[in-house]
Amino acid sequence: MSNTVVNNMAAETIPTTKKRKYFSHEGRWGLILVSPYLIHLIVFVVGPLIASLYFSLSKYDMLNPPKWVGLENYQKLFHEPLFYKSLWNTIYFAILFVPAQTFLALLLAVALNQKLKALKLFRMAHFIPVISSWTVIMYVADAIFNPRFGLANTFLLKLGLDPQRWFNDEHLVIPLLVLVAVWKGIGYIMIIYLAGLQSVPNELYEAAEMDGAGTIRKFTSITLPLISPTTFLVIVLSSITTFQAFEQIYVMTGGAADISAAGGPNNSSLVLMLYLYREGFSFMHMGYASAIAWILFIILFTLTIIQLKIQKKWVHYD
């Protein structure tokens, strides 16, 4: 039975690669069967993509039809200090967040890959923040960093130091947001790393031990290279999430109560997505917001291409 199928397929693949008969019986069925996906793709992905490109080249306040203005939105964007500020804030967030989360998640995964008692409990404990909503996380962070009632200031005052403003301090806000983001996200990355670590064959470690390799040597020469594809995946995923960071900063800087407060204090945590949202949905500059979205897309695209190019130097696939 299976043989005949294989034979049939082999027999048919030859002519179809020569003459692409899309409207043969099978071709038609193929298209019909993938059409739900195609329709979804066209209506919900390609359509909005083209629409947003068009909006980015027009003046559009949502309440009236868009008016074509050419590259005006992009010109305005490149002359707007707030755009550069939000771009820098986004990059700064990424510079702190991506290495910190990757490194700490790896450490945690290695630690929780040992034979420990109550291992599942530990893994679960680290995963709880991942499934909690940002609002819940905000309250937890507030219990620590609230300038009036928080643990952090109580502690500083006990030591005789000056209390800090934490999330309301221009210089502390991004590092603190990163700290909280790492705490929330680390469980998820840890799971990815655990899967990577478990795919490393034990024989390699045994062989290395026979050759007299120590723990550190085994980690740097076996574990790290073999999980490099996982590390690559983690880095790509977390840089994309940082560039798309919105909910956390919106919630934690009080955007729900007052949109002009979001990204504060003094726009020092205004990231690109937040800037885009504010311009588009609060100030009705949908054309300008679409231009921001396209710039964001170009940045992410370039970044991913660079990461793909660099990976050849350090990522080892089997």
């Binding site: 209506v43 300038p147 003094n266 949905f281």
Partner: protein, 455 residues
């Protein structure tokens, strides 16, 4: 052959796309077209019209609104009202996209500060003619706050929010400070507030060793535009926009003096600064939680204060140095969608008239305690003035209409307020001088205005 098959593939794609798109637009035309069809055939003597009513609400107000809609339909058997409601934030987010898709409600409740945003972008109907014809303007509060610089009316108030000074009697008694009265100036307020500001060690702002960076009780809580800087600027003779609402008048000596008063208060810890507010769950929570002796507050704030069981009262806001006074007003209003048919617009107008003119409706809505009634006769009756519960001096809200004004609302209100807050915040936190902040705000806000108005 190859080219041909590519063409056919593209044809299929296009067909699918067209199918999908016509699918969308079909449902569109069915909705709008269908409902007009529905309006016509059922008529016996009069045509039946269906209007869709949009409003933002919480639990209690939602029930009340539904009850009032039922009453309206009994009184107007030829008008059928369907409704849609959502909490404040979601309501407006949805509304903007609905307008974009031409699916917006026929008549909706607009936040007072957003009326001009919709009016100047052509999304709502000019109501001047109907208002002149059907409403006696002297009978209502707040109609003029939705009038634009050209004298056109765009909306009819649904309920009024007006700012007064709230004070916590218990905290005043404890500090042996006299209650605020209608003769207070902003300086009197600050003198009293200093005695009412306590640090974590219990020292007040006048005592030596008082720590202004660790405060447990503020003299006055101060939040953003409506319940913060706007009335101070105005009573000092300053302001943000001129009468045309297209020109910034921010960089003035009057505003500078007003800012000096505010920044001085914040530096001394007497007034909450923007960072202080962040340590509360919401900037609105400071007064109800008993962490501030006074607040500038609109009428709706009585709800939270009463819920917290506070022993408090209200009085009119203080005077500026030259005796000017200013009470900020937000008149949340009914607006009619500019895209609806005449028939529907007329039916929507019936609803608005029903709301504004019927005493019964006004009384029932006043019972919720969310807003000052729009109809003067109801607001001045015992239903409002003698309603149970604090504050005792509800007359202060009505007295404040004498020196009340809107918040310089125009099409780009949200945008310029955000920009103003940004610059004001820097001055409030001591990160830039008052002069620089005002100059910066003036420049940036003028840019926003020019961009919108000089098309």
């Amino acid at each position: 052959m190859k080219v041909k098959s590519w063409i056919s593939i593209i044809t299929v794609f296009v067909l699918i796309l067209v199918l999908a798109l016509t699918g969308c637009s079909n449902s569109d035309s069915q909705k709008t077209g269908g409902s007009t069809k529905k309006d016509t055939p059922k008529s016996n003597d009069e045509k039946e019209v269906t209007i869709n009513l949009g409003f933002y609400s919480g639990g209690k107000s939602d029930e009340k609104m539904q009850a009032l809609i039922k009453k309206f339909m009994t009184a107007h058997p030829n008008i059928k009202v369907t409704s849609q409601s959502a909490p404040y934030g979601q309501f407006y987010q949805k509304l903007d996209t609905q307008i974009a898709a031409q699916e917006a409600p026929d008549v909706w409740l607009s936040d007072g500060v957003l009326v001009m945003k919709y009016a100047e972008r052509g999304a709502v109907k000019d109501l001047t003619e109907w208002i002149n014809r059907d409403l006696n303007k002297d009978d209502y509060y707040g109609l003029d706050f939705n009038k634009d610089a050209n004298g056109k009316y765009w909306a009819v108030p649904q309920g009024i929010q007006i700012g007064v000074l709230y004070y916590n009697k218990d905290l005043f008694d404890k500090a042996h400070v006299e209650y605020p009265n209608e003769n207070w100036t902003w300086d009197d307020l600050q003198t009293a507030a200093a005695k009412l500001t306590l640090d974590a060690g219990g020292k007040n702002a006048n005592e030596s060793g008082f720590k202004s960076n660790n405060i447990s009780q503020f003299g006055l809580t101060f939040f953003s535009i409506t319940e913060g800087w706007f009335s101070v600027l105005k009573s000092y003779g300053g302001g943000v926009l001129d009468e045309s609402m297209k020109k910034s008048i921010i960089h003035s000596d009057e505003n500078k003096k007003a800012f000096e008063w505010m920044v001085d208060g914040m530096k001394r810890g007497i007034l909450t600064d923007p960072a202080d507010l962040k340590s509360f769950q919401s900037p609105m929570a400071v007064f109800p939680s008993g962490a501030a002796a006074m607040r500038i507050g609109i009428y709706a704030r009585v709800l939270a204060a009463n819920e917290a069981g506070l022993n408090y009262d209200v009085t009119v806001l203080p005077k500026g140095p030259d005796g000017n006074r200013f009470a900020p007003v937000i008149s949340n209003s009914w607006v009619i969608n500019s895209k609806v048919s005449d028939e529907k617009a007329k039916a929507a107008w019936e609803w608005i008239k029903f709301w504004a003119t019927e005493d019964e409706v006004q009384k029932e809505w006043a019972e919720l305690g969310e807003a000052v009634p729009v109809k003067k006769s109801v607001a001045n009756s015992d239903v409002f003035l003698k309603a149970a519960g604090n504050p005792a001096n509800k007359k202060a809200f009505l007295d404040s209409f004498e020196f009340a004004g809107a918040l310089d609302t125009n099409a780009v209100w949200e945008e310029w307020v955000a920009k103003f807050n940004e610059h004001a915040q820097r001055a409030f936190l001591g990160e830039s001088s008052i002069e620089d902040s005002l100059k910066g705000a003036d420049k940036d806000i003028q840019k926003i205005l020019d961009e919108f108005y000089k098309k």
